[in-house]
Subunit: 218 residues, 2 copies
């Protein structure tokens, strides 16, 4: 290393994770008892998580009784958008917290009649870092990235990718106009986890959505 | 409120902020003693923070002795990019931490000869939420948003906007092709803070950069 470029590694450990894992396990048991499939969808702001959920709800709402749980610092924008598709929604406003955790989900579930649902989409707070560390008790964690986030978003977030069960590359219809190299992005994902399921979709045009639904087993 | 849409408010308070403010005040004193202007630049991943700093460095490096401090979870990508412009850089790898804090800056400054510099750009971890809560001791906090983050990024992050001294709307050259309504975004900013300085720039084309530098007093 030259004198010009220095690297300082700061190791931060949080004791909070243990308590969260316990709550997540309780949530998972509750979901299983009710036969509900639960999908946790995370990703940075503006990657199109809400539009993806809207598109999935449009396709699946005849077949499944769907609940959408939306995490957001301050607004109800996402829950209102999904709610407009005639899907029940619960909004969790986290204030300053940068992620949902399993206890927030438990609080939110307190006055929900789970027997009414068989599929829950949880839209996490828009943030590519923090939600990765907190299990919610979902069956699957999908990370949504999009071609608008620049070429380094995978390499900069290896832990988020490692903890994901599936990566959805959204806004694929914009790749050409943004001169975005999707193959390079997929290669970056493969370097973190060679076997991770990767889907290229456009929630706007519907491209790739049937294949995504098939892989989800829905 | 209808039965269909519920809102749960979860209030999370962190005792960490007090200690951070103390460290930030010490950093500010140190910077002032050395006559250094320090600018903290935050924003979500892919908004073009690094390219903005590269463009500013290209313009200002003859006039100022510049140090760039880069915060990133795991990589040196940003520091390497800015370093290629013949600017000294320090990389802070935060591991899992979603923001820089004032103590990390103190650790990083431990073996830096501050008498060599009169301008420091700090590029915070790519995240529109967490860095807003942590002062670093900088003179100014700039929030970079871009036209690729969707229409709701201001309304969803009111605290981040309130705590900013300036908003830079980047990638303005892409607004048309993305059908992004910049005026609506500026209106959202004005609703949070009517007097906040807002600059529309393209770090790629250089548009708006001279005006930004002038407003920064550089």
């Amino acid at each position: 290393m030259t004198d010009q470029h220095k690297t300082v590694n700061i190791d931060i450990r949080q004791d909070l994770f243990g308590a969260n894992e316990d709550a997540a396990a309780l949530n998972a048991t509750l979901f299983k008892e009710h036969g509900i499939t639960v999908i946790d969808i995370m990703g940075s702001v503006g990657t199109g998580k809400t539009q993806l959920i809207e598109t999935l709800c449009e396709t699946l709402r005849e077949q499944y009784k769907i609940l959408m749980i939306a995490g957001d610092l301050a607004t109800n924008i996402d829950a209102d958008r999904v709610g407009s598709h005639d899907v029940d929604t619960v909004q969790i406003n986290t204030g300053t917290a940068c992620h949902l955790d399993a206890r927030m989900i438990r609080v939110a579930l307190n006055d929900i009649d789970l027997s009414k649902y068989d599929l829950i989409f949880i839209e996490n707070v828009g943030n590519l870092i923090c939600p990765a560390g907190y299990s919610l008790g979902a069956d699957m964690k999908i990370v949504v990235v999009s071609v608008t986030e620049g070429p380094y978003m995978i390499r900069k977030h290896p832990l988020t990718i490692k903890r994901a069960d599936m990566i959805v590359i959204n806004k694929i219809d914009l790749a050409e106009v943004l001169e975005f190299d999707v193959d390079a992005l997929v290669k970056d994902i493969r370097e973190v986890d060679a076997n991770l399921s990767v889907h290229k979709v456009s929630s706007k045009t519907g491209m790739g959505i049937p294949e995504l639904i098939k892989t989800l087993g829905l």
